[in-house]
Symmetry: C2
């Protein structure tokens, strides 16, 4: 990692390789990205922090913002004080080699930082976590010192820069100005958003990896959490002592928040909960049971609680139980499933209409496009099972993973409806189930056919013939085994592409 | 309808009621709407047609565009000629009371209209069909006269105006400048877009009403088409002579394109096709059969053909058959359904990946939010059944409609899987089916139980107990019986809201 001084030299060198005319051209997408940020569009009073002489994008943005009717402000040094003065669009600007933004005109309004909605900070160098080399930090501190009466930590801060000003990581000692978003030529990175799922769980992307039996161990959960999502340990396939080990391993692997999924129908549910509580796990997702049973005790202990539902009726029960978030899981999902067979496309708007809780969608979501679809329907986050079951860190057997990569539409089916509806891959075991169901087999007969340990046998041990192979419909869309971090990254990228590409009608 | 002169007087009067300062403030959202149009963002060479002295939005837009790096052009009168000259951002503009856009500076570049990507036309008065009172028409014609070498009818034309400049309908004789989009303070209306479903069928909104048995007669089809969508007659419940009558009635009710849905398993399929061909129906949607059977003959006759599929495998067959578009209909849909039970959330991206045809999504889509979700997944249009089955113009019985309004999640179920999977409302007839299926009844037994004419009995005649009641899962999201036009409008509005509200991550 370079020092601050070395970094500054590097950036300065990169800049010299880009002629001014070229920089001006490349500043256009930066400004366009800035101007379409919802936070920017909503802001009325915008402060351009230290509109630097040679940051051409800044001058263009200042002109365009004033023309677009925003109130644009600039900081002005006044002896020992830093004041904010309104930039008047009437002052003639002379774009040119120097790109000097003039001082605000005489007699222009003076305002308080608490009146500012958004600060644009042109960059020396940013990383994508919002860190910035702190040139002008002293002024910035003095400026924000006046922000003590701002609600919610002061104005929203957006760093703008060219691609050549993006460094992989800004050294810690230079990380002194943390942005809420960074906009450069080729991408926009939102660090602080208004997403409630992110706020509740303290995560960066509202992507949760499902707590899948025999897939979701500490390797998968910690990888998802480290990548900015929320990784869940799947306690459904764990005895209490094993869960304790996985929690410890997960903690050792990442300092980011993670959670445990406890299916309430597990014979060890109570003991698993004791482990979760004694280990002070920050998040618990409960499923397959009544949310009222455990939510109060978990909440009392400071645990964030989400519950998985397959209908809006159960979602209302979740709200009554006081959960922090609800997961609406549709018919497409793998493994255990709702009796009403409501698909994600219908379930999500239904649950959205029924409760005001932070809402995650699940079932059939394997990509950023699916995530965008879920958000269009009213979700604020996604719980993703199948996609994470098929990644490097998943503890499913290699045999199971390879089988899944070859599956097509129609290769999974909801079965065992008289017992507990479960989505299964059509293997030999499934054929036995279907044969029995077709001839009207009773629940008892099916329970006996199912026996015990078949999911472990299939998913974990790789017995593809006799095992109970649980996976979601979305498996047909999957053909690779990336890392969990790659999945998080590609879902976020895909989501952004889908949103940006939405057709205007 | 007022005359052109009266209209101009009215607009002028309205304008006097809005002080300049207020107009300037109100021009901000107009410009923001303009600048976020994908067509605008893609355009590099933008002509501001007749930047009128008192159109404050225009001046702001000219300044902002030039600042954003667009090449901005203005028309200049030169004797008998109208020339286009590049506006130089270096020319000082003095915003103020007069808002006079200066003539392009001496020595500035002259260009041809064929180099222009987009023309912005500040409005005297627009209606939402893109009509404009033709002030300055003479110049405009002369300008576009140079556009004969433009591909696709010349540059894209966007009218911009204040809300007070929007009139319900501009008189026909004033309709002499037709815009491709109109942007005002409170809304954006895209008249010509790049949507392939709209292009193929010659419609304004890519919303097709499904050809539902006993619901989709000429009243529904013509109402949907008149509202800008594509209405389909459901020939599945019609004998050939009745279809001929419905086609005639549909034609009498609207001059817009409409279509016929022919389920290929209908015993009358061949005769229905002869009616369609002899009546020169512009569009046919086929379903429940092989797309290769009829597509060549229909295409030879100039009919646009779409085929409904439940899997990507069938979608590939559609492409081979040469259809114009494909409908991917998921598990959520009412009535006959695919055997593989693939839900819309998974099916749409799967079909999208398999074929490059214009793609409509169906199944579970009852709102603009659902439409946005489908588009995020890769669809370019939607076929909507359930929502249109429950509107005023649907020919379903009042009893059926009222029953549907009270349905909740889980009140429909996919049944008759051994015969042909069909989504039914859980009524007495369904209970009989379920009882039979639970005890392993054979296909023959189920066919006998189904009998004949049950869908008519239930949907059309209102026998809610013994009838076969077909409706989609989305029914649980519906609680009113609006007109078909209201449905089209609210889906378009809802789509736009959903797209505009997509969270930035």
């Amino acid at each position: 990692m370079e020092s601050k001084k070395e970094l500054r030299k590097l950036i300065s060198m990169r800049k010299k390789q880009v002629p001014l005319e070229e920089r001006r051209r490349r500043s256009v997408p930066v400004m366009e990205r800035l101007m379409v940020l919802p936070r920017f569009r909503k802001a009325q009073n915008i402060l351009f922090y230290w509109a630097m002489q040679d940051e051409v994008a800044t001058q263009d943005a200042v002109i365009a913002c004033a023309a677009a009717g925003k109130n644009v402000f600039l900081p002005v040094v006044d002896g020992d004080f830093l004041r904010i003065r309104r930039f008047s669009g009437q002052a003639a600007l002379t774009p040119g080699e120097s790109y000097a933004i003039p001082e605000p005109v005489e007699g222009s309004e003076e305002v308080r930082i608490s009146d500012i909605d958004l600060v644009v900070v042109p960059g020396v160098a940013f990383d994508m976590d919002g860190g910035r080399m702190g040139r002008g930090k002293g002024f910035y501190d003095r400026l924000l010192a006046g922000a003590s009466d701002c609600s919610q930590g002061g104005p929203y801060k957006v760093g703008v820069c060219f691609d050549f000003q993006v460094v992989d990581a800004v050294p810690r000692e230079a990380h002194d100005m943390l942005m809420d978003a960074v906009v450069c030529e080729s991408r926009t990175e939102i660090i602080r958003n208004d997403n409630r799922v992110c706020s509740v769980f303290g995560i960066r992307y509202p992507i949760v990896s499902g707590g899948m039996v025999w897939c979701s161990g500490w390797r998968l959960a910690s990888a998802v959490s480290a990548a900015g999502g929320l990784g869940l340990l799947g306690a459904g396939s764990m005895r209490p002592e094993l869960l304790r080990e996985h929690i410890a391993s997960c903690r050792a692997a990442t300092d980011k928040p993670f959670g445990v999924n406890v299916p309430l129908m597990s014979p060890y549910a109570a003991e698993l909960m004791e482990v979760v509580l004694s280990e002070k796990v920050p998040v618990v997702f409960t499923s397959a049971g009544n949310p009222k049973t455990w939510t109060p005790r978990l909440k009392d202990a400071g645990v964030k609680v989400a519950h998985v539902v397959s209908s809006s009726k159960f979602a209302v029960k979740c709200a009554e139980a006081g959960v922090d978030a609800v997961v609406a899981e549709g018919f497409e999902a793998g493994g255990h499933n709702g009796r009403e067979e409501t698909a994600t496309m219908v379930l999500v708007p239904q649950v959205r209409a029924a409760v005001s809780l932070p809402l995650l969608a699940a079932g059939g979501i394997v990509s950023g496009a699916g995530m965008a679809a879920a958000f269009a329907l009213g979700a604020e986050g996604v719980q993703v099972g199948t996609r994470f079951a098929l990644c490097r860190e998943s503890s499913a057997s290699e045999e199971f993973k390879q089988l899944c990569l070859g599956l097509k539409e129609g290769d999974t089916m909801l079965a065992l409806k008289k017992v507990s509806p479960t989505r299964l891959i059509k293997n030999d075991f499934y054929a036995q189930v279907q044969e029995a169901e077709d001839r009207g087999a009773s629940k008892e007969e099916l329970v006996e056919l199912l026996g015990r340990g078949r999911a472990r046998q299939g998913i974990f041990e790789g017995d593809l013939s006799a095992g109970e192979l649980e996976i979601g419909q979305g498996v047909s869309l999957i053909s690779d085994l990336p890392s969990a971090a790659d999945i998080v990254r590609s879902m976020v990228d895909g989501y952004r592409r889908a949103v940006a590409g939405m057709e205007v009608l």
